[in-house]
Symmetry: C2
Subunit: 385 residues, 2 copies
Amino acid sequence: MPRHPHVSPTIAAMGGSVYSSLAHRLAAHRGPTYPLHIGDTWREPPAECQMEALRTADHPGLHRYAPVHGLPALLDAIVARERATTMLPVAPDEVLVTAGATGGLGAVAGALLAPGDEVLLLAPYWPLIAGIVRTMGGTPVPVPVFDGPVDAPTVRAAVEGALTHRTVAIYANTPNNPTGRLLPTASLEALVDVARAHDLWLWTDEVYAHYAYAAPHTFGRPLAPERTFAAHSFSKAYGMAGNRCGYVVGPADVMEHLRKVSTHTFYSTPTAAQVAAERALDGPGDAWAAEAAAGYAEVGAEAARRLGLPAPEGSTFLFFDVADALDAAGLTGLLEACVERGLLLAPGPSFGPFPTHVRLCFTAAPPEVVLEGVDILGAVLRARR
Amino acid sequence: MPRHPHVSPTIAAMGGSVYSSLAHRLAAHRGPTYPLHIGDTWREPPAECQMEALRTADHPGLHRYAPVHGLPALLDAIVARERATTMLPVAPDEVLVTAGATGGLGAVAGALLAPGDEVLLLAPYWPLIAGIVRTMGGTPVPVPVFDGPVDAPTVRAAVEGALTHRTVAIYANTPNNPTGRLLPTASLEALVDVARAHDLWLWTDEVYAHYAYAAPHTFGRPLAPERTFAAHSFSKAYGMAGNRCGYVVGPADVMEHLRKVSTHTFYSTPTAAQVAAERALDGPGDAWAAEAAAGYAEVGAEAARRLGLPAPEGSTFLFFDVADALDAAGLTGLLEACVERGLLLAPGPSFGPFPTHVRLCFTAAPPEVVLEGVDILGAVLRARR
């Protein structure tokens, strides 16, 4: 019972932003900067999806509340897209439009978790998922998978080894942020087997579905539609992260509970963002994403080559161990050495138990800027090895 | 431990939308409709704050993530505004920009509440606050206040009578949604006395601060800055509800915890919405709100007159008891009779223990439409009395 001046013990125990102190230092940096710590894109969204193209005269109510479920036109476009990609008979009541995939997975966690419930997070994982689970009263349990072989027997053994009587769900993010790897279809099927055997929910975070380079993306819902919530994002697909619009697809009988949570955390998804998303889905989005994917794959492969790493299979990130370049100042010392040269990276511990890794986003700036940043990193690492 | 196919018992116990079935019926209605159930405005925001006025060329990063704290220019504008209205030495780290006041109060509830903590809600209250408290694991406790005398001794006695050992906070919404009433300064001071005596937090929902007609709005934070979180909204102030942008101001040492919750429920507030809000604050917002307030006060007073009610003191709502017009079909029967005539109202139970009340928003449509709706309601009530 945290009365004034105390706060929720759960929230108090959570860390704050891991970036803020370094980001402040970057802001004070003189000379070129390389903000490769955040997962975003330098590309502008398609012209007809930009704010200046959205006219109130064409979209009555553009600045008014949208239905909490989502704008009907956007829901229709999402249903059509989901039917095409999953071959499932998707209906609008299986979809919830949300404030990005963050709002979507927050709604999933809020609807499903009771205090203390454990969610297995295939690690390294998208950093926000651990905080989302904690915010909704659950306990995130990292299960290292993407840092080693991702074949089905290995993945199954890792997940089965982490099960407890409190486990209620498995979270898998593929194409993976931060490792740039894909979870093979057989490994996703192994997750489904474990989930079915233990009555678990399956949360598939598929926000980088458009950005699978080494193989086509495997959609999660066709494997287990009765228990899978798939999160998608217009942020990543079409360069609209600031709009805050994504969606979740899941079993119809549970979606009403997700809607309660989203209604009480952000109410409705921004109306203009929904109009922009509908325009992307029904218009230039696919062409934009195909061009972006080609460019992302190229710069990702080149960045990896320069760092002596395998090319990313998907997503917009490289994640690698820099243990051999650390001195007594540890990872913080390395990150500070990078900031002194204008380069910002994300620290490994944000993604699970990876104390000596870093993440680099190769789409946060134009390719030439990214590759300059990569060269700076390479020089820093060489000087310290 | 709600494994598949079960959901969180807390969320399962919450009601879904109270509007949806009636709203669907309204959508099928032939002829003019009067959707006066939702709290929104028919007015368009100032021209330079509309989406089509926001150009990527003028606002680099317009479609990219904003800092989770808020855009620096908007934070500066909010700080200047808060200093002017509260005379407090407000600093940026006392402010959090949020996905509407909903996101802001969600962050407050998430940061402060442990499971089972009770929040006293001065009732009738803004409907979402009860669900926000529940979503974050707390227990909402309605304290009827705005349905009777709101003098300081009465308010104090009502709140003291509801205290238990689980009480951690008091929520007060003034200008009040749904009653259109103002909480007098002396009554707010009485709440502060109770809060200080029992180590409670004070949550003041001031989203209608621009819309106080009978007396100037009393800002909550100057009375108890050490324990007060004040929620504000650009939605209501400047007709931008669909943008999803508002803010919370509170004690600096707790705001970092609010930021954790907002980061994990909607991440950042929509970037374009923040640019629009900054433009409103630093530009035409005050003039727009003053003109809107004059228009709202006029139509509110006329709507009240036609229904035989006192003129609203603030906000954009009338809330009144229709018990004498109910038959065996109860409130639902009355609401259905209204829907048959194209008129949608919000049911009293959404606002607390008010089984025979209805709420009417007199700004959800242009004045002539609202007054037509009021006349339809008057006719329905007369026919049933």
